[in-house]
Symmetry: C2
Subunit: 435 residues, 2 copies
């Protein structure tokens, strides 16, 4: 049978992984589809130096992406260059030429997924982006089809593998954040500039896409409250364990009667929760459906092969839809009635909290902190001090009963003037048990 | 926009759950699809007594399923009656009339999924069966689309919620199997005749469907080795915990160089495995892909609403495909080259094993058992006896290093003649850690 022809733009990690799968797995792909998927052209700035996997049937090589987009035989363009400038040009140019697009671009889809999808619909092309979030987890297929009949009420994700790896190492070895980060950089698990990972921007982009898909609402990264993991110390795991909890960078999107609460922040999770058992560079997503109750999805968050599987699976689906002449009809970003799931301020979040203090010891400290909490009508649940915490700056913890984030922020503002604090208190929400 | 019309046959738990979702969630479904999904007719033996959810727009009610299949406006038939006789007639008649089919029928799809799919393709209709396995987990969407680019090498499932509930209760409360079963029956978690659940047939049907989808091979229940959970005793959890393991009814499909090993049997799992943390009436599936590595899926295995979500999501997908005129082209049951994934005998399985004995005490017992193992070249790893096991019949355990199932069966045959055994030894494989 006639193949469907694909052009791959970008031969970095993801592009190389996808090409390898397309070459090695060609027989099985063709058997599953009923027709072959053929890589007709590849594009990269240094395409001349690239060794392509054997079995690809000598695709056209070019350094000019427009050659791929303009190629008369190519039906699907895989945009795997990343970033938000050239990638956007590629997608728009491909759509204008009536070519379908598969992308792994998280930043771009988080920033302007809804607009690009509108353009795809207007151009009657297919647009697919399984690889843009949680590489190895087919969460788009799940939300788009698998549980599309449900009404999602909340999702909780571990969406940054680097942060989860660092937190797991701090937990298991008691090593300091800075030391673990340095090792992770040396081992290639973290970037030289780690900010996008450890400060939460990467996870925030992913949450923006996932919550747009789950709630059918336009959500952009700036709608999402964000805190990174730089302040997490081994002592915090000591206290979390005392409370039978652990600490993870949790991405949350939760429907409330007032609207959607969206956040990326280190949070305490009960050790018995399956999500708390996600260790190392894995990603995971817990979904609460109004009808289907809890479902959970887990897999590698990145890597050439897991993300390559997502790209190839998207290419297969789009190829099947091209063969049957069915372009996307409804944007996954905007099926909700406007306003039903509007993002609201994190200040409205209700939760129990963990507050960790470092102080210069003197009498009356607890009394002053307790007074600041009482002034905001916050009830103390427990005051904890580990034996080993008697060393420098006496790190100790106060947990408080469920209250609003606004009240906690007000109390922290009151505490800001207290001269005995060595650093601002660290506040983390304590998540309720899932399932 | 014009609706796509659906006829629902069978108004039991699943049918009622699906109807409720179709009625209550109609707006969101219509927004996601771009057109409404309309329940045009319902069929049940006692349809006159049924209260239908409001908002359904007075569908035709009938006790004769042929009226639904012959109805000129109905485009999709939901077969939710179960069983393998009438259900089969319904699906064949619907296909012959050019109507697409959504089914929740595990027994029928396990027995003749490949044949029904061939007929669906010949009739150019769509056939969908998300609800037939692990109700709330969208595993079909995952295997069909989400990770379709990967090459599955193994899957491990907890596919029977009743068994998992019973095992969890034995583990947590130390109660006997018979007592927990009786309570589960009283609470409605287990059937009056529990055999399909506790003897493994239900899980085996599900594994047949899942492994057919995962490996693209025709697999029927009789290809699968099966043991139920009736012999699992609280003392087995005592020993499993000593070994830092737990016990679950594990459904396995694993590719080896010789072919596919397929089994449903109680097995030891390391406590650190995420799969070991699946408690109560939940289902879960661990998938190993050659490229994508490990992914994991978890959710409710049954219930009107979780299974209803699967039915409604299938109806939405099929409606979308009908609207765009694209019938299924390739059977999910038979994309593999013949023979690549042929089922082979469980005798070829390699694993470490747990062997539990009950004996009338006398000197020389361990020596005789050890001699039987040595005669089959099986190496003993450990001999374990819990203090509390000194009571009746001295239950104790021998764990052995990896060997073949055949060797273990041979050793058990040698032991069958030993007069000190109160009952045949209980043998369970010890699974290697996943991820």
């Amino acid at each position: 049978m006639q193949p469907v022809n694909v052009g791959v733009i970008g031969l970095g990690n993801v592009g190389s992984g996808a090409l390898q799968i397309l070459a090695e797995n060609a027989d099985q792909i063709s058997q599953k589809l009923g027709f072959p998927l053929r890589v007709a052209a590849v594009c990269s700035r240094n395409v001349a130096d690239k060794t392509l996997p054997s079995g690809l049937n000598s695709p056209l090589r070019t350094t000019n992406w427009r050659e791929i987009v303009d190629h008369p035989e190519i039906q699907i363009v895989a945009e795997l260059v990343g970033g938000t400038t050239v990638a956007r040009e590629i997608i728009c140019a491909a759509a204008a030429k009536g070519k379908s697009v598969v992308t792994a671009n998280k930043e771009l889809m988080a920033l302007m997924g809804a607009e690009l999808w509108d353009q795809a619909i207007a151009s009657q092309i297919n647009l697919a982006m399984e690889a843009s979030v949680a590489g190895g987890i087919p969460i788009h297929a799940v939300l788009r089809e698998g549980i599309s009949g449900d009404r999602i009420t909340a999702l909780y994700g571990i969406l940054n593998g680097t942060c989860n790896y660092i937190l797991t190492e701090i937990e298991q070895r008691g090593a300091a954040f800075a030391d673990v980060l340095r090792e992770a950089q040396a081992a290639g698990y973290a970037e030289a500039d780690p900010s996008a990972d450890v400060d939460g921007m990467d996870a925030r982009s992913k949450l923006a896409i996932l919550s747009a898909l789950a709630f059918g609402e336009r959500i952009v990264p700036s709608d999402i409250y964000m805190e990174g993991i730089r302040r997490i110390d081994p002592i915090d795991f000591g206290y979390a364990h005392m409370l039978k909890h652990t600490i993870r960078l949790i991405c949350t999107a939760r429907q409330t009667s007032q609207g959607l609460i969206l956040s990326v922040r280190p949070s305490l999770l009960p050790q018995s929760a399956i999500l708390a058992n996600v260790r190392g560079a894995y990603n995971a997503i817990w979904v609460k459906g109004f009808y289907g109750a809890d479902t959970f999805y887990y897999g590698r968050g990145a890597g050439p092969h897991p993300t390559g599987v997502a790209v190839v699976s998207d290419l297969m689906r789009v190829a099947r839809e091209i063969r049957s002449g069915s372009p996307e009809r409804v944007s996954p970003f905007a099926h909700a009635r406007l306003g039903e799931y509007q993002p609201i301020s994190i200040a409205l979040q209700q939760s129990a909290y963990y507050l960790r203090f470092r102080v210069k010891d003197r009498p009356g400290i607890i009394a002053e902190l307790a007074a600041a909490l009482a002034a905001e009508k916050i009830s103390i649940e427990a005051v904890l001090q580990l034996p080993e915490a008697n060393a420098a700056n006496l790190p100790f913890v106060i947990t408080v009963e469920p209250t609003s984030e606004q009240s906690v922020q007000n109390a922290l503002a009151r505490m800001a003037k207290m001269e005995f604090l060595v650093e601002p208190p660290l506040a983390m929400p304590i998540e309720v048990p899932l399932a």
